[in-house]
Symmetry: C2
Subunit: 736 residues, 2 copies
């Protein structure tokens, strides 16, 4: 392997990967100015000392995730990484000895077995059941190694490089090309693992392999991984830079969704930091207009008021900004970005910092009073490497401590963890879900639930269209649930305008979810002067060459309070259908459109909500509950309201309100009734869709130009004898 | 009407009912020493000023609860009471004028109509649909009247006494004997209303009527109120003192349960304060060994860690110590009790005080740093006027910020709001329910839900035995759901011992819930050295002359994680049965006892729980969900596990554990598995019941003497070849 500099000289320059010699000196001299760093350091010392008291344990691999050997090897790399930091900052040699002893134990058993015994992963690992976790090991351990590299005798370095680290790097790359050469978070971890250890060893071959991938890999173009996604697609590049390029949009949105972006941010950011230190000529933090810094900002925006990530695509509810990968991401983005003071308030909430110069800078700045609140404004995040594959819009209304957030997903497929959920939305009030995205069907690391892995119901329910707040046509999921077809298509943004706080709008279209149908959904968050909360207008326009059955669910929570339609409740419960997620929903009640408008009021988290929807005379309403055909009790028993309509062309016009509160201490119900009336679609042509509705005495009209989004275009209509003219793709006003 | 003193003299002595002249002076001179009082005063002033800006509105009665006229009259009395206080403390005359103008408006319309137009209550009211609310009006308004009594010209006093207050007091008493002469919280309010206004007017007839009831009432012994309870029982007394006597036990437990005790405490305490001021010879706070002070303490103990009341009998979840009646109760109990410093921490949490001398004393003491934490220890609260009608035991385990509370209900019927729930329990961890008592079926003041009143399902579900964590026999509720039979019987306490923190026990029996069966349930909360949480041992012994079907539910929350028995899930859902609550439960799954022991693990609030239960070979397990036969969607869709056993004599031996945690940020599951094994009943004779179980390597034995609870009694047994001897009703130890 080629080495860029004299062996002895490079040996003595460590640490220089994440921690640097200068950084360590600065930290040691200024610790009192950075209380949050000091606190994190003290907590870390307690953790590491406790673990070190258990001795060195490097077992031969045996168990799956959650089992003993798996857990022990995870503890080992996490502890080594922290011990390396402690060695450098405190100077206490015991930490270096601990790392050395452990690495020697790993090096000793490394050649004694080929792979982990469990044959379940498409990329079977070495100490772990899957290469992904071996990559985790290398990413953390390379940092520990860097911290003791100069302290170790050079013969130990030579020994470990040759007998442990080089073969380990080769294992996860050359020996597992199907793992290493993908565009996927697996390959991100793989390339960062190889790159980090390559940087430590100053092994340019490894570093280049990491940056650019394996030149040849012989991967079968039809091969799939355990989640059902293709290993590789034709013409794709490989390696770290390709993995940085491909899944992120120019706005920093990671196509797999926030849950996996959270997981991927750490290797991206930590390797970027290492590259900045050791290969500054790459200017990695400037790459693609500061993409990495934007990615952190995008991810922080993809959260509710509690800092919990929206569970889009495969995402487990409850994951949040408090996770350790976000601690690193925020600190690295602060340091290598613009020292954005808003990030300091996030770090403050996290109550921990990365134990290096970036975390130190954050802690110093917090102590110096530079913290500014992190403001989550309405935002549009494009999807796709070039930003032209749809996106996610978040419309937010913030007022003092109270917020509403409407999350509109008109994004691309999202790789193998993506869902069939085009033009779906979810709604949050403060930190609570109001209309949910179900998330994934998995209990991560709960061993009793399929070993903590994905459940069957993730495919049969969670990914299916009916599980989302969007239209399912003829009980068939978007793209017929076909991953290839889904991956080849995406929605297009039609309108996005949040410049007026009292009126925010996003609109998107897609014509490929069903062969003969065209979907166009527009969401508006508007605030009138009377109500304390904004209203959400949902205009979902469908055109088709065929007559279809359109099902539009609203996945709410809590207790039904009132409906303006009669509900028939059956004596026994039957599933709503037989496949594509329909088999998982019990029919608890059914009703018909009695009146021109449907109104459904429910109570959740001591708030009154209503959906008001303009009705067609043959519309049906189905009240469902999840949990049918669920023999393992894997699904939550959450309720839904489905509007079911038979039509060719139609518009679903609905308004969602959070209009009231209940106080169980005073037993007062305030504004328990919607103030909305007379919602109707007053115009449905190829060119225009118009609705009107009344809030108390005021009548509103909203008109959408369906075909032309140009802001300059002039429009003229006569509605009910009144001439209306305006510029741009929409019109919204009170009449009389 | 006789007057006890010269008219002019008494006219000038006001206020002297709740606020007193001396009290007012003390408050005005020392306001700066009582910030919480000052804060409450300022908040009250803002509220009252805002309401006064709306002008005087005294509408003719028309609406039910929640409707306009009902709400307006409520606002009126609440505002008048506060305005009275503000007049006295600030001296601003506008408050007195406001009260006077409003009272004159009431006096003007009072004679113009007979009653409220709605014919729904068994005690139709005057300004409100039911006399209960008219009584509320008088209780609050009498305080306002007392505050302006001396300020008003005597001719106005004469006018108001004659044309409004005296006839109003007569209306709710003489004209509504079925309302006034009961032992019931309605009559408590009625007698306090008459008593308070009687004291203000110095009308001894009214005061005596309040204290001792109407001498004759001609109430039909079979007449019932709207909740299905008898109006009057033979031989009962009437009036305030009888209502204080009868429903409270000597421990201060109010037989209707915490939700209604919360509602009743205000009239009890406020009238007691008024009697203390105006009829000190009654020594009301010493009555029955300080019953009123004990009652406040009992009520504060009947809460979870959030201060929310256990929803026993008819009780709505969410009612808590923060309600205004508890603010008054705590302050009055502090002042007239022993200045118990623990009450100050409750007042501090409430962040408000009663605006009188009692609240002032509380606020002063808090400011002076006298606050002590309110410690909720394990407690036994007897039921019944003489304390001999069963009771409620609460076993608590407190450790730092963490607590478990086991609530065992072996109480009497509880009057018309009581449930058929003998020997049931509920379990709390911190502020969360783990195994619930369902509470009531009602959405109080949510007008869309039957006008905010009780729902049919309160009778068909919430009161039924199967809705509770106790045994239902042959799908029939306790006492066959017969109120009269239920009211004539109650359980007996067998054992209660909480003297050892690591081992707490309560045991109770009842032989009357089913004619031929005898029930004996023992609950033990014990802490072993290994586990972080205590275990709960539940021994439910049934004997019978017949073979019966015993159903024992555990009403849990959250997601099933694992069972050690196979579950068959049906393709369609059917109700569990046809009546007595069974019609309301869907059967989601069924299983059989495969092994000697059943184990059921679930995840709720990010905690892992297990129930382990010794199985008979023919046992069946039913997984159910509430919501069948619920056409109005009034029931929550909560899950249950039912152990179903056919037997004559049997013991259900179960252990409940909170053994693990899940962290969705770190995605770590800790202690997701129960460490319990081999739970079995090893002895079941008339004299003794014994169980053994293993926790890790230790084997435990618990033996209960079934017949003799004497602490001195010596027992000797041979179990599995080992001689065991001990004193007292139980034995608990590790063997080998
Ligand atoms: Ca949340
Ligand atoms: Ca609670
Ligand atoms: Ca409960
Ligand atoms: Mg989803
Ligand atoms: Mg929720
Ligand atoms: Mg109950
Ligand atoms: Mg709960």
């Amino acid at each position: 392997p080629a080495k860029s500099q004299d062996k002895d000289q490079t040996h003595l320059e460590h640490p220089n990967l994440i921690l640097t010699k200068d950084g360590v000196n600065r930290i040691k001299s200024n610790l009192e100015n950075a209380p949050l760093f000091k606190q994190t350091l003290e907590v870390t010392k307690v953790e590491v000392d406790a673990e070190m008291a258990n001795g060195i344990n490097v077992p031969l691999p045996k168990d799956m995730a959650g089992g003993f050997t798996h857990t022990q090897h995870k503890i080992n790399y996490a502890t080594m990484q922290k011990a390396g930091v402690l060695f450098q900052i405190t100077g206490e040699e015991k930490y270096a000895v601990y790392i050395k002893d452990m690495l020697m134990a790993y090096a000793k058993i490394f050649p004694t077995f080929k792979k982990h015994p469990v044959e379940r992963s498409y990329a079977r690992g070495k100490f772990f059941w899957q290469c992904l976790n071996d990559s985790n090991w290398l990413v953390y351990t390379s940092q520990a190694y860097d911290c003791i590299y100069s302290w170790l005798p050079s013969e130990d370095v030579t020994y470990l490089n040759k007998n442990l680290f080089k073969p380990y790097a080769d294992f996860i790359s050359i020996e597992n090309p199907q793992y290493f050469n993908r565009i996927h978070n697996h390959s991100t971890w793989g390339s960062v693992a190889v790159g980090m250890i390559g940087l430590v060893m100053d092994d340019d071959d490894l570093v280049n392999r990491a940056l650019y991938g394996l030149k040849t890999d012989n991967i079968d173009p039809n091969a799939k991984d355990n989640d059902g996604g293709f290993i590789k697609t034709e013409g794709q590049k490989a390696g770290f830079l390709a993995n940085l390029d491909s899944p992120f949009s120019p706005d920093g949105y990671y196509t797999e969704g926030p849950y996996y972006q959270r997981y991927a941010m750490y290797p991206f950011m930590i390797f970027a930091q290492a590259l900045h230190n050791k290969k500054p000529e790459l200017k990695i933090f400037e790459y693609k207009d500061g993409l990495l810094i934007k990615a952190v900002n995008a991810l922080l925006n993809l959260t509710d008021a509690d800092g919990e990530f929206f569970p889009l695509n495969d995402g487990q509810k409850g994951m949040s900004i408090y996770t350790s990968s976000l601690v690193s991401a925020v600190d690295i983005a602060y340091f290598y970005g613009n020292k954005n003071q808003q990030l300091l308030s996030v770090a403050k909430k996290q109550n921990a910092v990365q134990l290096d110069e970036t975390g130190f800078a954050v802690a110093e700045a917090i102590h110096a009073g530079k913290t500014a609140p992190f403001l989550k404004e309405s935002i549009n995040l494009r999807d796709g490497s070039n930003g032209d594959e749809g996106g996610i819009s978040i419309l937010r209304h913030n007022y003092n401590d109270h917020s509403l957030a409407l999350v509109y997903k008109y994004a691309a497929q999202g790789l193998s963890h993506g869902h069939y959920d085009k033009l779906s939305f979810s709604l949050y009030e403060n930190g609570d879900e109001v209309l949910q995205d179900y998330g994934l069907s998995r209990f991560v690391n709960v061993e009793q639930k399929n070993g903590g892995g994905y459940l069957i119901e993730n495919n049969t329910w969670a990914k299916q269209t009916i599980a989302h707040n969007t239209i399912t046509q003829n009980e068939t999921s978007h793209f017929n649930g076909n991953f290839k077809l889904g991956s080849e298509n995406h929605p297009e943004l039609y309108v996005f305008n949040v410049s007026e706080p009292g009126f925010q709008i996003v609109s998107a279209k897609i014509n490929s979810v069903y062969e003969n149908s065209q979907f166009h959904r527009t969401l508006v968050m508007f605030k009138d002067s009377i109500s304390s909360n904004p209203f959400i207008l949902d205009l979902f326009r469908v055109t088709s060459s065929e007559r279809n059955k359109y099902d539009l669910p609203f996945h709410y929570f809590g207790q039904v309070v009132n409906t303006n339609f009669d509900i028939t409740t059956p004596k026994t419960l039957h599933p709503l259908g037989s496949k594509n997620g329909y088999q998982h929903m019990w029919v608890e009640g059914e009703g018909n459109a009695d009146q021109g408008v449907m109104q459904f009021t429910w109570l959740d988290n001591n708030r009154f909500y209503s959906i008001t929807s303009a009705a067609n005379t043959e519309d049906k309403y189905v009240l469902t509950r999840m949990g049918a055909n669920d023999p393992e009790f894997n699904l939550r028993r959450d309720p839904s309201l489905i509007i079911r309509r038979q039509a060719k062309n139609t518009t679903f016009a609905s308004i969602i309100e959070s209009h009231g509160t209940y106080n169980p201490v005073t037993e007062k119900a305030d504004n328990a009734y919607s103030t909305l009336k007379d919602l109707k679609t007053i115009l449905e042509t190829k060119e225009y869709t118009a609705v009107s509705f009344k809030i108390e005495a005021k009548t509103y009209v909203f008109i959408l130009a369906n075909q032309d989004a140009s802001k300059q275009k002039e429009h003229k209509l006569n509605l009910d004898g009144t001439d209306i003219s305006w510029n741009g793709p929409y019109y919204f006003n009170t009449i009389k």
